[in-house]
């Protein structure tokens, strides 16, 4: 059989997607930003290790506090903070994941093949996500194990929080990649960090019962619930019993945002002209 006749067969989309996603993962892994994300994950783990291994004593208003109790009270905040830090770090690698092949022109030769832009965008997202979730997930898993072995924290909330982290990373990466097609990467990165902070502050304020209006309220009410979902996932650690209906709605909103942000990324690449 000739080379030409072998290539005349229709190529399954799944195979194309797999080839490009593996390439995107390896590309992210080999890049300096991939190393930076791995460094952030290690830094976060080091931070958790130092904070949960504290054995000194606290004095508050002249009263000595039990260090173990202090750590127990602070651990969910610490775990949540580390998750959000890793989420911002995933925005770092995502800001480069699609913008670089477009900027250096290497996207042209991939798209000169029978590859749709939808498949290419989703493959780049998957490859980038795989790295971000692997690095962040490993750091969060190690943090959860530290909390479990040192202070007896249950692992189920950590597992739930890990799933929320993965979904939130998908939202952050997809939106960062879409934005990076239109603005410089540095601006994308700062925009992602600012946006995560705004949403988390809004979510936290809402959970604490604060009321506010305008665009900030709309962002909190309809935007991706990065902070709320994480808080509800970890609620088992703080003996809270949030309304199950509210938790379900927040998780549903997060899943909807995963789909919406991926669709936005695909649409952005499909509209882009490659000159």
């Amino acid at each position: 059989m000739s080379e030409s006749s072998r290539t005349n067969r229709r190529i399954p989309r799944a195979r194309t997607f797999h080839l490009l996603a593996v390439e995107a993962f390896q590309d992210a892994l080999r890049s300096r930003l991939g190393l930076a994300v791995a460094g952030c994950a290690l830094l976060a783990l080091f931070f958790v290790d130092r904070c949960t291994g504290f054995e000194g004593s606290f004095v508050l208003n002249g009263e000595a506090l039990d260090p173990a109790e202090t750590v127990r009270a602070m651990a969910p905040v610490l775990f949540g903070w580390v998750s959000l830090f890793l989420l911002a770090a995933s925005g770092l690698v995502a800001s480069d994941g699609l913008a670089r092949p477009v900027a250096d022109g290497s996207i042209s030769l991939w798209l000169a093949r029978p590859v749709s832009r939808t498949v290419y965008a989703l493959a780049r997202l998957t490859g980038t996500l795989a790295l971000a979730i692997a690095a962040g997930g490993a750091a969060l898993a190690a943090a959860a194990l530290l909390l479990h072995t040192r202070h007896g924290f249950a692992l189920e909330p950590a597992l739930f929080a890990g799933l929320v982290y993965a979904a939130s990373t998908a939202v952050v990466c997809a939106l960062a990649m879409a934005l990076s097609l239109y603005v410089p990467r540095v601006i994308t990165l700062f925009a992602v960090i600012l946006w995560i902070q705004l949403i988390v502050v809004g979510n936290a304020a809402h959970l604490l019962g604060a009321s506010f209006g305008g665009w900030f309220a709309a962002l909190e009410r309809w935007g991706p619930p990065l902070g709320s979902a994480l808080f509800y996932a970890m609620s088992g650690w703080v003996s809270l019993r949030p309304d199950a209906h509210e938790v379900a709605l927040v998780m549903l909103r997060l899943v909807a945002w995963v789909a919406l942000s991926a669709a936005l990324l695909v649409l952005s690449l499909r509209r882009l002209e490659l000159r």
Partner: protein, 251 residues
């Protein structure tokens, strides 16, 4: 059957007209040289055919399919003007990946990659990272990936750019070999002697319009070289009207 077709296509970039109501039809099996001064719209025409940019008006078809349809690029090889590859891949990894994307796998993939490496003189550099290659070697890699799977259609944008004289000769041999196998070629180039040697039809673009088109014998006057004809047409004639394009744009 028509391989590449631009039907009354105009393309504007930020108000600047890169192509103006261009009609072009390249039949299967033809070898067409796309000529014109810098900024005439040659690369834009190729990018429209690949779906990289959308026409402002008019229609684009590749084997009857719109370029937005990935099936229009099955059996198509492309050599860009400035080849850019994922820099961290080795040449062999890159070719394997491109081979996979056109449906080759297993032994057939390895055989095709090996054959293209040898054919393009890259056999001893297969493990070199693409990001470390010179422009001439990058151009050879571009040919190697474009020729994988012996594609039926070849789009070549300045294919000899950056090649040394030996490389130019090799590129000419690859193009002529593809032509002898009956492949359809659309070659955008400034090197008129190469076009004269490798193509049987030419289309001359000037200021985004087709200034002349047809077989070499149609375009050249008696005793005239392609270079003479090119200078005569580009300097001497205003772009033709849309009606003339429709009549003469078929290569």
């Amino acid at each position: 059957m028509i391989a590449f077709e631009l039907a009354s296509v105009s393309k504007l970039y930020s108000g600047r007209r890169a192509l103006d109501r261009v009609n072009l039809a390249v039949p299967i099996g033809a070898a067409v040289g796309l000529l014109g001064p810098n900024g005439a719209g040659k690369t834009t025409a190729l990018r429209l055919l690949l779906g990289f940019v959308r026409p402002s008006t008019g229609g684009v078809r590749v084997r009857g399919l719109p370029p937005a349809d990935p099936r229009s690029r099955e059996g198509l090889g492309y050599v860009p003007e400035r080849p850019a590859f994922a820099p961290r891949l080795t040449i062999r990894e890159l070719l394997r990946l491109h081979g996979g994307l056109i449906g080759l796998k297993g032994d057939a993939l390895e055989h095709a990659v090996h054959a293209r490496l040898l054919e393009t003189g890259l056999g001893d550099r297969a493990r070199a990272r693409v990001g470390n290659l010179s422009k001439g070697l990058l151009q050879r890699v571009a040919f190697a990936q474009a020729l994988l799977g012996d594609p039926e259609l070849l789009l070549l944008d300045e294919p000899t750019s950056g090649l040394d004289p030996l490389g130019v000769r090799d590129a000419r041999d690859w193009i002529l070999a593809a032509r002898q196998r009956g492949r359809t070629l659309l070659v955008s180039s400034h090197v008129l002697t190469e076009v004269e040697r490798t193509c049987d039809h030419v289309v001359i673009l000037h200021q985004g319009r087709i200034a002349a088109s047809g077989s070499l014998t149609d375009v050249l006057l008696a005793g005239e070289s392609l270079e003479d004809a090119y200078v005569r047409i580009v300097r001497g004639s205003a772009p033709q009207t849309a009606g003339q394009h429709a009549a003469e744009g078929s290569a």
